[in-house]
C-alpha cells in the first residue's frame, strides 16, 4: 500500500509540476515515429544513467519465451524534477510501456508512457525530441 501511495504521489507531482524537457539528441535519428509499440511485462532494471535513463523489461513472446527490451526515458535530472527517482519502479513491477521502436529493428524503444498494474500512468519520455505528438506529453502544444 505504501508503495502505491508513493507512486500516486509521484504521478500527482508529475501532473502538478511537469517540466517539459528537450533531449540532447534527436528522436528521428534513432527511433521510428511510424512504428508505435506497446510492451507488457516485468521491470528487470532501471538504469539511472546520463544522458538518458533506460528501463529494462522482460516481455513474454507468443511462444512464452522471455524477450528483453530496453526503453529510453528522459534525462535523470529532468525525470527527477518530474518526481521520478531510481527507486520509482522496482524490479519485478508489472508494467505496460507505450513507445516507438528503434530504427535498427532491435528490441529498443523510445518510451512515452508507462502504465502500472493499478492503472496509474507515468510519463517517461523526452518532449521536444520530435517524437510524434500523441497527447501523452503534458508540455505538448494543443
Amino acid at each position: 500500500m505504501q508503495t502505491r501511495v508513493v507512486l500516486a504521489a509521484v504521478v500527482i507531482l508529475i501532473l502538478a509540476a511537469a517540466i517539459p524537457v528537450v533531449a540532447h539528441h534527436a528522436f528521428a535519428s534513432e527511433f521510428d515515429g511510424s512504428k508505435p509499440v506497446t510492451l507488457k511485462g516485468t521491470v528487470t532494471k532501471m538504469e539511472w544513467i546520463n544522458p538518458h535513463a533506460w528501463l529494462h523489461m522482460e516481455v513474454k513472446g507468443p511462444d512464452g519465451k522471455a524477450i528483453q527490451w530496453m526503453i529510453e526515458g528522459g534525462a535523470p535530472n529532468a525525470l527527477l524534477r518530474r518526481g521520478w527517482n531510481k527507486n520509482s519502479i522496482a524490479p519485478g513491477t508489472q508494467i505496460t510501456v507505450q513507445g516507438f521502436r528503434a530504427k535498427d529493428g532491435s528490441n529498443r524503444a523510445n518510451g512515452r508512457e508507462a502504465t502500472l498494474a493499478n492503472g496509474q500512468k507515468l510519463f517517461l519520455g523526452s518532449p521536444g525530441t520530435g517524437a510524434p505528438a500523441d497527447g501523452r506529453d503534458p508540455s505538448e502544444k494543443k
Partner: protein, 320 residues
Amino acid sequence: MRIRGLLSLVIATIMISAYVLVVRQNQPTAASAAGRSADWAPSRTPDGQPDIQGIWTNYTNTPFEVFDEKDNPALYSGDPDGTGRGTGPGFLNDSLGRNLTKGRSLVVDPPSGRVPIMPWAEEKRNYRLAHIQDDWVNFTPWERCITRGVPGGIFPTGYGSGYQILQGPGYVAIVYEMIHEARIIPVDGRTHVGSGIRLWNGDSRGRWEGNTLVVDITNYNAKGNLATNAASQRVRSVPQSEDLHVVERFTRVDEHTINYDAVIEDPKVFTAPWKVAMNLNLEQEYKLFEYACHEGNHAVPNTLSAGRTKDRAAARAGSQ
C-alpha cells in the same frame, strides 16, 4: 487500510502542492527588474570583486534568431529523414510553472536578428545534420557528451539551464548544469596561454570594468561547434575555426539579474561579428543536478546502427 492510504495520498498532495506553489512564487519575473534602482551596486567579495555569485537560470521563450521562411527547422532539430517529425520551429522551453517572457530574438546585433553565417559553413552544417547516422564526426560535441562549448554552454535550452557562479581571490568559476561543465576564469591580469595550445572551450581571461566582468576567449581548436542544441536553430552545428574570438560581458544590474552578452567573431565562419544577449535570473532555490553525460551514452551507437540498417535496406532494394 484503504482509508489510511487515501489519507496519506491527500496529505502528500497538499504537501506537494504547497511545495510547487512556493517554488512557482519564487520564479523570477519581469517585476523583479522593475524594482531596480539606478544607484544599485553589487556587494563586494572579500577580495574586492563585484559579487555575482549565486545560482542563475536563463529559461526563456525568446527564439535564438529571427525566423526566416528559407530556414529549415526540421533539419536543424535533427530530422535526417525529413519525415516532418523534427522539433519544429517553436522554441523549446521550460514554460510550465515558469513565468517566461518572449522577445524578438536573443541575437541583438546585427539588427536583423540573423547570424551572418558564411555559405560554406551553412553547407557544412547541413551536411553534418543530414548525415548524422553516417559517422560519429557529424554529431555535435554535446551529443558526444564532450562539451556544449563557450559561449554555447550558456545558450538556453529546455532543461538543465542552470549555472552556479562562484568567486575566489583572482578567479571566477561557472558550473554549468548541462552536461556538468566547470569553467575557471582567471581575473588576475594574466595573459592568454601560448598560441600553440588549442582548446575545445578556448582560453578564458577575465577582467573587471567597473561592475562588469569582461571575459576574452581565444585559443579555440577547430573541432567544436558554436552552438549544439536545437533551440539555437540555424546556428546549431555551425563549425568554429581557430580564429574564433569571443568577448563575454556579465553585469549584475540588480540583486536578481545579470545582463549577459557575447560578441562573437570568426572571420573564417561569419561575415561580420554578431552579438547575442540574455538575462541570467537569480534562482537560489534551483537545484543543479549532476549530469554525468558519458556514463551511458547509447544515443551515438543507436543512431549509427539505425543508419547501417537503412544502408542495408537500400543495398537490398538496389540488388533486386
